[in-house]
């Protein structure tokens, strides 16, 4: 257990800048998820922490001591890979024991540790098998076993669930969550899957273009995204974004001149603004309800996605934008129907149109 501090980390491959000044403070025992689209630099950051990649500038401190100059094996970290990366020529036991052998543990100690880890992950029956004789889920469990056997200060996970099918993914996710509870070790977990991030993380770091967009608990990220990128990245289906001409007296002005009521926290006045609203913050009204015309957005139903507990209705607005609206399944929508979309003022997020930064609290 240890806290991990990353300061002013830069990384570039030739002229390509991958990380631009990343600062992170990871508390001891924290489960931190690095989340972002592919190419955002999250894997590079993880590999730099592991020592597999050299940083261009910056420092990494473990419990206040710089580990940037240490080789991977001396950093007190363990890593679990997307492709498992099991040694194909070694048995499960051999895979788990290798690191301990390298570190010079006694035979008895190695046997004890391997046995403990194997018990914890229910790998005891597989110890004599080679990786090629294991299923995907088993392989990933071995990979995790290989990581915990060394009792590291920090666990690093590099998209460990990506190669598993949907059913297994849920199962192994749960196992990782339990592992964290049991070991209370510091864990850094890289993924592009927000469900993994939301369910596992104490805190999530959203990365884009080599820069940290926001750091926060899953709830903070979902409810108070700091910028338009985070807002759009977290949540499924994604948040709807609609442009406002400006804000006047805490009221939004649509490009056509119609008015939109905004939340309490909205600024008094502001220039061009992006209005964000999740599908659950919208509702549909029949088009013939004339009295709504001033505040509502007119459009036409394109298609309905039925999910069982709810359905998502895709609406093309007359202005040209698309909006996804969450509906009760009882409220069926036929494509081609003219509708009005109404927005719940309390569910609205406001972003500056040029900087993308959140407006108001």
């Amino acid at each position: 257990m240890a806290n991990l501090k990353i300061s002013a980390l830069h990384k570039s491959f030739g002229p390509v800048k991958v990380l631009e000044g990343v600062d992170l403070d990871i508390a001891s025992g924290e489960f931190l998820v690095l989340l972002g689209p592919s190419g955002c630099g999250k894997s590079t950051l993880l590999r730099i922490i592991a020592g597999l990649e050299d940083e261009s500038a910056g420092d990494i401190l473990l419990d206040g001591v710089s580990i940037a100059n240490l080789p991977p094996a001396k950093r007190g970290i363990a890593m679990v890979f997307q492709t498992y990366a099991l040694y194909p020529h070694l048995t499960v036991r051999g895979n788990m024991a290798l690191v301990l052998k390298q570190a010079g543990y006694s035979k008895a100690e190695i046997a004890k540790r391997v046995a403990e880890s194997a018990r914890a992950l229910e790998l005891e029956d597989l110890l004599h098998r080679k990786p090629s004789e294991l299923s995907g889920g088993q392989r990933q469990r071995v990979a995790i076993g290989r990581a915990i056997v060394r009792d590291p200060k920090v666990f690093l996970f590099d998209e460990p669930l990506s190669n598993l099918d949907a059913a297994l993914r849920g199962q192994v996710r749960l196992e990782i969550a339990r592992l964290h509870l049991r070991l209370t070790a510091t864990m850094v977990y890289v993924t592009h899957d927000q469900v993994e991030a939301m369910t596992l993380a104490d805190r999530i770091v959203v990365l884009n273009g080599g820069e940290i967009q926001q750091i926060g608990t899953p709830r903070q990220l979902y409810e108070k995204p700091q910028n338009q990128f985070v807002a759009g990245f977290i949540g499924s289906p994604a948040m709807n974004f609609l442009p406002l001409e400006n804000i006047e007296g805490k009221t939004g002005v649509w490009p056509g001149g119609a008015r939109q009521k905004l939340p309490e926290s909205a600024p008094e006045t502001h220039g061009p603004t992006i209005l964000g609203v999740r599908p659950g913050g919208c509702d549909l009204r029949p088009a013939n309800a004339g009295k709504l015309e001033k505040t509502a957005l007119a459009g036409e139903v394109m298609l309905e996605e039925y999910l069982g507990d709810a359905s998502f209705v895709h609406v093309r607005l007359d202005e040209g934008a698309n909006v996804i609206v969450r509906q009760q399944t009882s409220n069926r929508q036929v494509p081609g129907t003219k509708v009005h979309v109404v927005l719940d003022p309390a569910a609205l997020h406001l972003f500056d149109a040029t900087s993308g930064q959140r407006l108001g609290a």
Partner: protein, 313 residues
């Protein structure tokens, strides 16, 4: 915020890169590159046959090679023969290699492995054996080839293939094809196997089958492999020496009709019987061979390979 420049560290020198590269680079440079450079150098000198004094003569040896009729004649003849030798390989060896590989890959044939091994077998034999066997097979004394031709009613086609000016080179080229057809077969077979099954299945569904499937889909996809084989054949052919030397002797008879650049080089460099060797002219010929091969490879790389699309598979 400015990045903290103070944190830029010197990475320790990565000795392991040197350790990994070192042995190969050393052996390769010392045993291959430097001697090749030495060859280049020798071609600028001459040695007096009596006094043994070594003189720098600039391009005089090249002047001799290109303008003395007794050098340029044999040289151009060997070059032309070499060219024919290569053309025959391209026209016979590679199509046969493609054919065999295609047959092996197209059907689910029992005995596939046996065919593959058998056809690859001559490739494993040394030139001594290959030369000897074919000399014997084609020898009028032993009469194996004559008997075989007679048995299929072509007895009148028999002639001393290796002894006639008009047939000796072609015969040798075909013997060489016999020996080496296993290599294109193997490489093309592997290339054909690596075409994803889905592509072939898609073709089947689209009604592209049999020969059309082969020519319109598979052959196009393995063109880069055929390109590589061609260039390997080119380099191999322009270095050929052993087969001619073992079957036709150092004078590459009859009447130099089977003389290749390699045999000319060997004969010049080491001499034969009472003809003394001339290392300087030998080096000159070797250098020219080097340039000819380099030009050929360059032509391939810059004009042909660029047009061969490599498809992601």
């Amino acid at each position: 915020m400015m990045p903290e420049t103070s944190n830029v560290r010197k990475r320790p020198f990565r000795w392991h890169i040197l350790v990994f590269l070192g042995p190969a680079a050393f052996v390769y440079t010392v045993i291959m590159i430097l001697p090749l450079a030495e060859t280049l150098r020798l071609s600028f000198f001459q040695v007096d046959s009596v006094t043994r004094v070594v003189t720098f003569v600039g391009l005089e040896n090249y002047n001799q090679l290109f303008f003395n009729v007794y050098w340029v004649g044999p040289f151009t003849k060997a070059l032309w023969n070499n060219f024919l030798f290569f053309v025959i390989h391209m026209l016979v060896q590679n199509p046969i290699g493609v054919l065999i590989a295609a047959l092996l890959s197209m059907f689910h044939l029992p005995g596939k492995k046996l065919y593959r091994t058998a056809i690859f077998m001559p490739t494993l034999l040394s030139f001594v054996i290959v030369g000897f066997v074919w000399k014997l097979m084609l020898s009028p004394l032993w009469g194996v080839s004559k008997g075989m031709l007679s048995s299929v009613g072509l007895g009148s086609w028999f002639m001393p293939f290796l002894g006639r000016e008009e047939s000796a080179l072609i015969t040798l080229a075909l013997i060489s094809v016999w020996q080496f057809v296993g290599i294109p077969m193997m490489l093309i077979y592997a290339a054909l196997l690596s075409i994803p099954e889905e592509v072939i299945e898609a073709a089947e569904c689209d009604g592209v089958t049999g020969l059309a499937q082969f020519f319109k889909i598979k052959l196009i996809l393995i063109l880069p492999t055929i390109g590589i084989i061609s260039i390997l054949t080119f380099v191999g052919n322009f270095n050929a020496f052993d087969l001619v030397y073992t079957t036709q002797g150092p004078l590459a008879g009859p009447n130099f009709s089977t003389d290749l650049l390699g045999t000319l080089l060997y004969r010049t460099f080491y001499g034969q019987q009472t003809q003394p060797g001339d290392p300087n002219m030998g080096a000159t010929i070797a250098t020219m061979m080097f340039f000819i091969i380099l030009v050929g490879v360059a032509i391939y790389l810059f004009f042909i390979q660029r047009r061969l699309t490599r498809y992601e598979m």
